[in-house]
Each structure stands twice: as structure tokens, then as C-alpha cells.
Amino acid sequence: MPALSVDQAGPYVAGAYLAFLGLILVYVAIMAGRLSRIERELDDLAALAERAGAERGDEEAPR
């Protein structure tokens, strides 16, 4: 098959590079979603630990 002209080959080359970029972006976006979920859950846990600590402090405080 004869080589394609630059005009004809351009969309193929752009498509291949965009597919690569898209793949990486989708992967990074999924991982970012997971990290933000971990961060959210960590905040929940920290709030819970703080609440538990505060309650314990109330119990131990002299009445």
C-alpha cells in the first residue's frame, strides 16, 4: 500500500496520540476519584476519633 500523504495520515497519527493521552487521563481520573474517596473516609474517621476523644475527656474531667 502506498504511503499516505500528510493530510491523509494526520488524523491517524492524531488519533493514535489522542488515544494514548485519553487512556492515561482516564486512568489518572479514576485514581484521583479513589484518592478523594480515601481522603473523605479519612476525614470521617478523624472526626469520629475526635468525638470519641472529647467524650472520654468529659468522662475523665472532675465533676
Binding site: 500500500m1 499516505l4 491517524y12 493514535a16 488515544a19 494514548f20 492515561i24 470521617d44 469520629l48 467524650e55
Partner: protein
């Protein structure tokens, strides 16, 4: 732990990949035979090499896991295989686009290089279903490691078999570095380095994420134990907190 050094690695990766792309479009000359379409070579081949090396690395890490019993190596092996699979998707997509432009077909079933890569890809596509079909985490890690070792050994065997087979249209890359003239060779090597760095960065990134999720689960477990020991009822740990991260 895994996040250490991730930022400088990511910056270096970005720099090398950007430099590689600049070389592809502003330095490497047009191929006399294929013209502009040959530019796909600079992402397709490095991605294929890195993906196949990642599969083998996953097998090596699985060997370390089985010999040492250290579960961190199982996680490392899992992440390496996962990333190689993602790169494998990239190889198949960019390869198909190149095949369409160069040969007029999206896929050629008679071509051993294409079919053998598809076989390797499909083999590894069964890794995750196999892994997550086992509930017991120790058995899961052991079985997954055995799979990773056997499949990892299959990759170089498959590579050699393809080299011995007769090629129809797919060129034999890296049979001799002399096949790549100066500008092509430099550009290819920079792109290969960029792709390897990208793999290493994403591997560390995913490991850091999985390690954080694991630590969160441990925290939740410890908090639940404290709750259980406490004489008075305390606010319950929400069910979602520290749950498994898929």
C-alpha cells in the same frame, strides 16, 4: 511509604515524555517508506515493550512474594500487571490505527506478532477475575502469584516464538539497532525512557493509593476494637469508612 519521591519522579516523567514528543514531531525526519504515519511507532513500540516488561516484572515480584511471604510483593505484582494491561489496551488501539493507515486493515489475523500480543493480553485479562473470585486474602495472593509467574514465563517464550515465525507485514523491531538511523534511534530511545518512567510513576501512584486504603482499613478495624472494649456505647464507625477500595 510509596508516595515518597513520587513528585520528582512525576516531574521527570513529564519532562522526558514532553521532550520525546517534541523530538517525534520536530526532530525525527519523516520515514521515506511510510511518511507521517510512522510517527505512531514512537508510542506504539515503547508501550508494547514496557507492557511486556511489566508482565515479566509482575512475575518476578510474584516469585519474591512466594519465596519471602511478604504480602507487599503481591500488591506490587498486582499493580504492575494491572498497569501493563492498561498499556496493553493502548498498544492494541494504537497498533490498530497504524495497521489501518499502513495496511488498510484494522487487524490482520494472519500476522503472528499481532495475534501473539492479543493472546498475551487476553491471558492477563483473566488475572483480575481469577484473583477476585477468591475470597480468602492469603489464598488470593498465593494463587495470583502462581498465575503471575506462569504467565510471566510465557511472555518471553511467546516473544521468541514470534521471532521464529514468518512475518507477513508487521516489521521485526529491535532485531538490530542499526535499522534505526541516528535521529530515529535517539527519538525512539527517549520515548522508550519516557514510557518506562510513566509506568514507574503510575505504579508508585497506584501503590500509594492502595497502601493508603489498606491503612484506612487497619484504622477502622482498630477503632472498632476500641469501640467493642469500651464499657459505654460510642458513636459507631460508619460502614463505608475504610471499606475495600476496588
Amino acid at each position: 511509604m510509596y508516595g515518597r519521591g513520587l513528585r520528582p519522579l512525576a516531574i521527570v516523567t513529564f519532562g522526558v515524555l514532553t521532550g520525546g514528543l517534541a523530538l517525534v514531531f520536530f526532530y525525527a525526519p519523516l520515514d521515506a517508506d511510510q511518511g507521517l504515519i510512522q510517527k505512531i511507532f514512537y508510542i506504539h513500540v515503547p508501550m508494547a515493550i514496557v507492557a511486556l516488561c511489566g508482565f515479566v516484572a509482575g512475575g518476578v515480584m510474584a516469585v519474591v512474594h512466594l519465596s519471602s511471604g511478604d504480602r507487599r510483593w503481591d500488591l506490587r505484582s498486582y499493580v504492575a500487571i494491572h498497569l501493563s494491561l492498561i498499556m496493553g489496551v493502548g498498544v492494541l488501539v494504537t497498533g490498530s490505527i497504524w495497521a489501518r493507515a499502513a495496511w488498510g486493515h484494522w487487524w490482520v489475523w494472519q500476522e503472528p506478532t499481532l495475534v501473539s500480543f492479543l493472546v498475551v493480553f487476553l491471558l492477563y485479562a483473566t488475572y483480575q477475575p481469577l484473583r477476585f473470585s477468591i475470597e480468602d486474602s492469603h489464598r488470593q495472593a498465593r494463587y495470583a502469584s502462581v498465575f503471575a509467574i506462569i504467565a510471566g514465563a510465557f511472555v518471553p517464550l511467546n516473544f521468541v516464538a514470534v521471532r521464529l515465525a514468518q512475518s507477513l507485514s508487521h516489521p521485526r523491531v529491535l532485531s538490530s539497532t542499526a535499522n534505526l538511523p541516528g535521529e530515529f534511534g535517539v527519538t525512539f530511545l527517549v520515548c522508550l525512557l519516557g514510557m518506562a518512567l510513566l509506568f514507574a510513576t503510575l505504579w508508585k501512584y497506584e501503590l500509594a493509593s492502595k497502601h493508603a486504603a489498606e491503612q484506612l482499613r487497619g484504622l477502622r478495624r482498630r477503632l472498632s476494637e476500641v469501640e467493642a472494649r469500651s464499657p459505654e456505647p460510642r458513636p459507631a464507625v460508619p460502614a463505608g469508612v475504610g471499606g475495600p477500595v476496588p
